[in-house]
C-alpha cells in the first residue's frame, strides 16, 4: 500500500479513537439521541472524506503528468488547459442540483415538516416516558431527583452547598435566618407561602399577649433568635415572646396551621412548592417563580431541601 493511504488510515483511526474517547468520557455519551449521533457521524465523515479525496489528488501530483490542449490565451504567462471537467465532480454537481430541486419541490412539501410539529412530538414522547417513571419515584429516589433539579436550576443562586453563597440567597440548610425573621416581623410578609393571599402582619399588628402592647424591638431580637435557632431553646426569652405573640397563628411548636400561617420550624413540601410557584421576596432579595418545573419536579426539590435541613 502507498504510504499516503497509510497516513490516511492513521488519521482516520486517530479520529475515530478521539471521538470514541470524548463521547465515552462524557456523562451519558450519545444518550440514544439521534441528533447526537448525526453530529458525531458528520464530524467523522468530514475528516475521512476530506483526507481521502485530498490523498487521491496528492497521488496524482506524485505519479501523473500534466497533459491536455492549451488554450490560445495566456495571462501573465499563466496558461490554461482545455481539459474536460472531472467526471465524478460533474456527476455529483448535477446529482445534487437535481436532488435539491426534487427535495424542494417534492420531498419537502410531501414530508410536510414543521419544526413546531417536531417539537410537540418530542415533548409528548419524553413526557409520556417520564410520567410513567414518576409513579415509582419516592423516598430516597425522590430526594435524588430533587438533587438533580437543584443542581440544574437552583445552585446558580443558592450555591452548590445550598448555603446561599454568603447571603446572596436563602441558606436552605436551615429553615430561616435571624435576619429574615426580623425583617418579616418588622415589615410583614406577603409571599403566598400558604398558596393563598394571606399576609403576615408587620410589627404594628403583632400584639404580645403577655404585655398587652405591640411587640418591642428587644422582643423582636429575642424571638428572631429563637425562631432562627429552630425553636429549640424553650426557656429563652424568645420562646416566651413566641408563645404570646406568634403561636396564635404559627402554632405553639411553630409548625404552622393550615390556612392561617406557614410552618416556620421546618421546610414542608407545601411551603417549598408555594415558593417555587409564586416566588418570594424578602430580606435577602427576590426569588423567582419557576413555572417551567412540573409538579413532580417541585415535589422532588422540596424533598431534597427538607433532607438538607434534616441533615443539619
Amino acid at each position: 500500500m502507498n504510504k499516503l493511504y497509510l497516513w490516511g488510515l492513521i488519521i482516520t483511526a486517530a479520529m475515530l479513537g478521539a471521538t470514541y474517547l470524548s463521547v465515552g468520557m462524557s456523562k451519558g455519551g450519545l444518550n440514544g439521541d439521534i441528533v447526537n449521533m448525526l453530529a458525531v457521524a458528520g464530524a467523522v465523515a468530514l475528516v475521512i472524506i476530506t483526507v481521502f479525496v485530498v490523498i487521491k489528488y496528492v497521488r496524482q501530483m506524485q505519479t501523473d503528468q500534466a497533459t491536455g490542449e492549451l488554450a490560445e490565451e495566456s495571462w501573465d504567462n499563466i496558461g490554461e488547459y482545455k481539459n474536460s471537467v472531472p467526471f465524478g465532480w460533474a456527476i455529483m454537481f448535477l446529482g445534487t442540483m437535481i436532488w435539491g430541486m426534487w427535495y424542494f419541490t417534492v420531498g419537502y412539501p410531501v414530508n410536510a415538516f414543521s419544526q413546531i410539529g417536531q417539537y410537540n412530538e418530542e415533548v409528548a414522547e419524553k413526557n409520556a416516558k417520564f410520567e410513567k417513571e414518576y409513579a415509582n419515584i419516592q423516598g430516597d429516589r425522590l430526594v435524588e431527583m430533587g438533587e438533580s433539579v437543584f443542581l440544574a436550576e437552583c445552585k446558580v443562586c443558592h450555591g452548590i452547598a445550598a448555603d446561599g453563597i454568603d447571603g446572596k440567597a436563602a441558606n436552605l440548610n436551615q429553615r430561616i435566618e435571624e435576619k429574615s425573621v426580623k425583617y418579616v416581623i418588622e415589615h410583614g410578609s406577603n409571599n403566598k407561602l400558604l398558596g393563598t393571599e394571606m399576609p403576615m402582619p408587620d410589627r404594628n399588628g403583632l400584639f404580645n399577649a403577655a404585655t398587652g402592647t405591640l411587640i418591642t424591638d428587644a422582643e423582636i431580637d429575642a424571638v428572631a433568635k429563637y425562631v432562627a435557632n429552630g425553636l429549640k431553646d424553650a426557656n429563652s426569652e424568645g420562646a416566651k415572646v413566641f408563645a404570646n405573640t406568634c403561636a396564635s397563628c404559627h402554632g405553639p411548636d411553630g409548625k404552622g396551621m393550615e390556612y392561617v400561617a406557614p410552618n416556620i420550624a421546618e421546610f414542608t413540601p407545601a411551603l417549598v412548592v408555594n415558593v417555587l410557584t409564586h416566588g418570594k421576596k424578602g430580606a435577602i432579595g427576590k426569588m423567582p417563580a419557576f413555572d417551567r418545573l412540573n409538579a413532580k419536579q417541585k415535589e422532588a426539590a422540596a424533598a431534597y431541601i427538607i433532607s438538607l435541613s434534616k441533615g443539619e
Binding site: E122, V123, D291, R292
Partner: protein, 230 residues
C-alpha cells in the same frame, strides 16, 4: 457565450449581478409583511429599558448570549417557551446572537431577579463559581444615556409606527400603555421613576444614592432591560 462575456466586462458584471441578486429577493421579500406583526403581550420598550438595551449592545453582550429559544425540549426546559416571531416585532436590531458562551437570555426576566443581576454583573464568579463571564463593575458608575434612548423611541414611533402612548393588548385580555415623554425633560422623569423601582430592590448604596439624586447608572437601565425579557 461565456467566452464572449469574458471579453465584455460590463456585460459580464451585469451577468454576475443578476445571478447573485435574485436569490436575495426570493429569500427576503416574502417574510416582510408577516414577521413584523407583534404577538399579543409584546410591548414596546420603555425609555429606561431601551437605554438598558443600548448598554447591552454597547458592551456586546450578544457576543456570548443568544436571545433565541429553539424548539427543543432541552431548550424549553432550560429557558422557557420557544421564541415566536412576533415577540421580536419591536427589536431593532434583533439580538439573537450566534454564540452561546453564556446561556440564552430571551426570557431571563422570568427566572433571575434584580438583586441577583446586581451581584452577578459586578462579579459573576462570586455568584457562579467557575463563571468565565467578565465582570462589568464600571456599569455601576457610568451613566445611562437616556437622551439617545428617547431619540430612538421617537424615531421608531415616527418612522415605524411603534405604538407608544397607545394601548397594546396583553395576554390576560387587558391592555397596557407604554409611556413616552413629550420632551427630553419628561423622558428623563419617566425613566427616573422606573429607575427608582429597580434601585429599591438593589443593595449597592452608591447606586441607590445616585438614583436618589436623580442620576441613572447604566446598571439600573441594564437590569430594567433584563427584567423586561420574558
Amino acid at each position: 457565450m461565456f467566452h464572449w462575456l469574458e471579453k465584455h466586462p460590463f456585460l459580464f458584471a451585469v451577468g454576475v449581478f443578476i445571478t447573485i441578486a435574485f436569490a436575495g429577493l426570493i429569500e427576503i421579500v416574502p417574510n416582510f409583511a408577516e414577521a413584523s406583526r407583534p404577538v399579543i403581550g409584546t410591548k414596546p420598550y420603555s425609555t429606561l429599558e431601551l437605554a438598558g438595551r443600548n448598554v447591552y449592545i454597547k458592551n456586546s453582550c450578544n457576543a456570548c448570549h443568544s436571545q433565541l429559544i429553539r424548539p427543543f425540549k432541552a431548550e424549553t426546559d432550560r429557558y422557557g417557551h420557544y421564541s415566536l416571531s412576533g415577540e421580536y416585532a419591536f427589536d431593532r436590531p434583533f439580538l439573537w446572537g450566534s454564540k452561546r458562551t453564556g446561556p440564552d437570555l430571551m426570557r431571563v426576566g422570568n427566572y433571575r431577579t434584580t438583586d441577583w443581576h446586581e451581584n452577578h454583573m459586578k462579579n459573576p464568579a462570586a455568584v457562579v463559581p467557575g463563571s468565565i463571564m467578565p465582570g462589568y463593575p464600571w456599569m455601576f458608575t457610568n451613566k445611562a444615556d437616556i437622551d439617545t434612548a428617547y431619540a430612538e423611541q421617537l424615531t421608531v414611533a415616527q418612522f415605524f409606527a411603534v405604538p407608544y402612548n397607545k394601548p397594546v393588548p396583553m395576554k390576560d385580555g387587558s391592555t397596557a400603555v407604554v409611556k413616552m415623554g413629550k420632551s427630553v425633560a419628561e423622558a428623563h422623569a419617566l425613566a427616573l421613576e422606573e429607575a427608582k423601582k429597580v434601585a429599591a430592590d438593589m443593595k449597592d448604596q452608591d447606586v441607590k444614592d445616585a438614583v436618589a439624586r436623580g442620576e441613572i447608572p447604566e446598571i439600573v437601565a441594564l437590569i430594567a432591560y433584563l427584567n423586561s425579557l420574558k
